[in-house]
């Protein structure tokens, strides 16, 4: 018994070892996919473009003048099928786990072709760590081909760009797979997405020589926020509105706003808002939702054009109240604009309503967007300015006093 007890497993083990290695994929036999772009196909439903890293090119020692990435496209009926078919043009096994970007073309967004999301959610390789964006003009595939001198791989460049923008100015909603799926599922929220556009000539941007110029021939930049209703693209907001959309959703971390020092003055001061919080209170009055936004912001004064003595507490208070008025006004404008023009609850007020007024929301969830466009919105901002940089009084004030 004892002898067999050891021998048999050993035999089995050696058997397994000799036939094993089913999932083995040597690292130099795979290509890392960093970006995907989905367009509508000409003949079939989709056209999938993948961007694959040319890794030796990115090595510091071996790197040369070759292209940092390779892009290949093919048409097909489902993305799941296409993803496995990419080897019609590419040599190596594709690894999707390091994907950084998914670009969707406007056509796909208009027609609401979000059927491929199920594949993305199901796939074991694809994680929830890439951003989904919309390409406004031309093909989504073009976005994956515009090179950039510093971060050579286009999707990594864009990803970094958006992350930085979000951190510094709150100009990117950072939409991931989970967010899209959640907002498609949830009756109280509609999807949004960042829009990118190519500045310059897309054709010239595709070559390596684009990386050699101080002003690249083509550059991908952020150009607003796409608004969806259900799964269809209905319109967009300018980039300037994005921080306010995020603020209303309590997702804003940091942003910069400028406002006139006094009402109707032409000089402006700029405030860097470091800590922003939104408290959303939901109420219902006569079947109309009442949305109260209590915004708390904290920040520092970045600069002023007015001759105000910033060593005075009163000036701070004046600026604070200006900030409050301006911020409240703009926030309200953005919300009202979305309410009236698109009637799509991109702020997730419905979800908040569900949490606070569960019974009411359960009653109206089928027609929430209509309720949302009817909703009365009130905004109250409480701004606190803490400090004003290295200088107290501005030179202008001194100039005026002495001059």
């Amino acid at each position: 018994m004892n002898r067999h007890g050891i021998l048999l497993p050993l035999l089995l083990l050696s058997l397994i070892c000799q036939t094993g290695c089913w999932d083995r994929r040597e690292v130099n036999e795979v290509s890392v996919v960093t970006g995907m772009a989905i367009d509508t196909g000409e003949e079939m439903k989709y056209r999938l473009t993948v961007e694959v890293i040319n890794s030796p090119e990115l090595n510091q020692q071996q790197g040369g003048a070759a292209a940092p990435a390779i892009v290949y496209w093919r048409e097909g009926h489902t993305i799941a099928e296409l993803a496995q078919k990419m080897n019609t043009g590419l040599t190596r096994d594709l690894v999707f786990s390091h994907m950084r970007l998914l670009v969707i073309s406007l056509d796909v967004a208009r027609e609401g072709l979000f059927d491929f999301l199920d594949y993305l959610e199901r796939s074991r390789e694809i994680r929830n760590d890439f951003e989904i964006i919309l390409a406004r003009k031309g093909k989504a595939a073009d976005v994956l081909q515009i090179t950039y001198p510093v971060q050579k791989v286009p999707s990594i460049k864009l990803n970094t760009q958006m992350q930085t923008l979000k951190r510094e100015w709150g100009g990117d909603p950072d939409i991931r797979l989970k967010d899209i799926v959640n907002s498609l599922m949830s009756p109280g929220r509609e999807p949004v997405m960042s829009i990118v556009k190519i500045r310059g000539s897309a054709e010239e941007g595709k070559s390596v020589s684009n990386m050699e110029k101080v002003t690249p021939d083509a550059l991908v930049f952020m150009d607003g926020l796409a608004i969806f209703k259900e799964d269809k693209y209905v319109g967009s907001l300018p980039v300037e509105a994005i921080p306010y959309v995020l603020l209303a959703d309590n997702k804003l971390r940091e942003t910069v706003i400028s406002a006139a020092c006094r009402e109707n003055a032409s000089e402006r001061f700029t405030v860097d808002l470091k800590d922003t919080r939104a408290k959303i209170k939901m109420a219902v009055k006569d079947d109309i939702p009442q949305i109260h936004l209590g915004i708390e912001v904290e920040g520092q004064i970045d600069g002023t054009e007015c001759a105000d003595d910033l060593s005075k507490k009163k000036v701070y208070q004046a600026y604070e109240s200006r900030t409050e008025t301006v911020l409240a006004q703009r926030l309200k404008d953005v919300i009202v604009l979305v309410q009236t023009r698109y009637g799509s609850d991109i702020f997730g007020f419905g979800e908040e309503m569900n949490r606070q007024q569960h019974d009411y929301f359960q009653r109206v969830k089928g027609r929430w967007n209509i309720q949302f466009s009817k909703a009365a919105v009130s905004v109250k901002v409480n701004a606190k300015l803490r400090r004003a940089g290295l200088v107290t009084n501005t030179f202008k004030a001194v100039e005026q006093k002495e001059g």
Binding site: I16, C17, G20, C21, D23, R24, R25, E26, V27, N28, V30, V32, T34, I53, S55, P56, E57, L58, N59, Q62, V95, S97, H98, R100, E125, R127, I156
Partner: protein, 523 residues
Amino acid sequence: MGSGERYRSGSELPLTGNLDECREEMTELFGETKDLRMEDLQIGQKQAMLLYLLTITDAQLLTERVLQPIGRLPVEQSVASVDEFEQLCAKMLGGSAHVILHTNQDAVQKILEGFSVIVMEGVSAAVAIFTEGGGKRGIQEPTTQTIVKGPKDGFVEDLRTNLSLLRKRIRNHKLRIETFTIGTDTGTNVCLIYMKGIANEGIVEEARKRLQDIRTNAVFETGNIEEFIADKTITPFPTVYSTERPDAVSAHLVSGKAAIVVDGTPFVITLPTVFNDFMIAPEDYYQSFMMGSFLRLIRYLSFMFALMLPSLYVSVITYHHELIPTPLLISVISQREGVPFPAVVEAFLMEVTFEILREAGVRMPRAVGGTISIVGGLVIGQAAVEAGIISNTMVIVVALTAISSFVAPYYIFSISSRLLRFGLIVLGGVFGLYGVFLGLMVMVGHLCGLRSFGVPYLAPIAPFIMKDQKDIFIRLPVWASKLRPQMLKPDSAVKQQESESPSPPPVYPSERRGKRKSKGDQP
């Protein structure tokens, strides 16, 4: 004890007192051995014979202890009976170790142990005087376990010197030394040492029993004994601790372990042994407890590295690309571009190369040792990478593994990680992390199943013993650990009763006043 059958041939006879007979018998036993001296002596009125082995006898000792006392005897001295002989011996040889013998067998045994034996005409007894000499190495610093701070003496090959090193460290009447003679061909002296009243009696009894049960022909090193007394021999992990350092052995003895000293080797084994013993260097206790604790954690970490690093690398690189951060993955891919082997083969190649290098380094004469490092480091490492056969990362991994395996304070222990590493590489290459983790589970299961003299091998960790945790992963200050290791079930559990953390002495009011006064006086 085990030595009986060696000269059973008629030598169990009692000594007769007939010198010629004795001489004949010795010649028969030893044959024409060059170094057996049988010298005639005149002790008082009587004829006598002095027997010793020239090769292991110290000439000066022989003169001092045997010849000079005999020379000082009055000429008319005469001995007729055994009693008188014993009295004479006591008078003549008092102060030097001597034993009265009654049989031939004992006489032979003593001669072999380096005693000089005197047989007297007409007396049916003999006396053996300790005159052992011969080649001996002086006490030197241990070469296998070097430390920076702490005692620098190490055991030598000589049993008596080794025992003296221990006795000098533990000046306590409780220290017991029991002697066994093991090896039908070599008749080696083996000592079992323990602290009576501290070491668990059951463990000592078990060790005694196992030593007595050894049936072997030759013992040259503790390693020969280890395999007889270890609980389970089919394991890559050492189940007894052997060391060259007397301070380590003393510390083990005091904590309730037993030690076995074998004549002819500088290594002493202590038992029972648990896994954690191999992570402790004696130096941990000689420097600040913070440093000691830190080093211990480093050792655990490097044991893990030495065991798992190549297999983890292989499995991540061939199965789980997603675990690698993107920039790192890109860099690894670009390095592996053009490497002709799969990662498993690459790892195996490098590991085997390293093992060969290490073995060569150990066995080579010192003078050519430098060549090894040049050939190994330069030719194999750098050239292989530049030729594109091996990737840079693999060299880094193998190097880190190698260095980690050297961290073990106890050289032999790294054998286990060296052996198991290969198994894990195969598992990692075939099943990825799944294989590695299953392998680890089996390994931990095996470790949990091991016992050393009844003490579970992973003792204070599994089974978990809270009281012993003060000296496992971290070492608390000496005053904080008041108990001996409980896992050894020592007969007296308390090590130091009222040890307190040292604190500044209290300042008395009078003193304080005085200070203030003197301060005020100064200006």
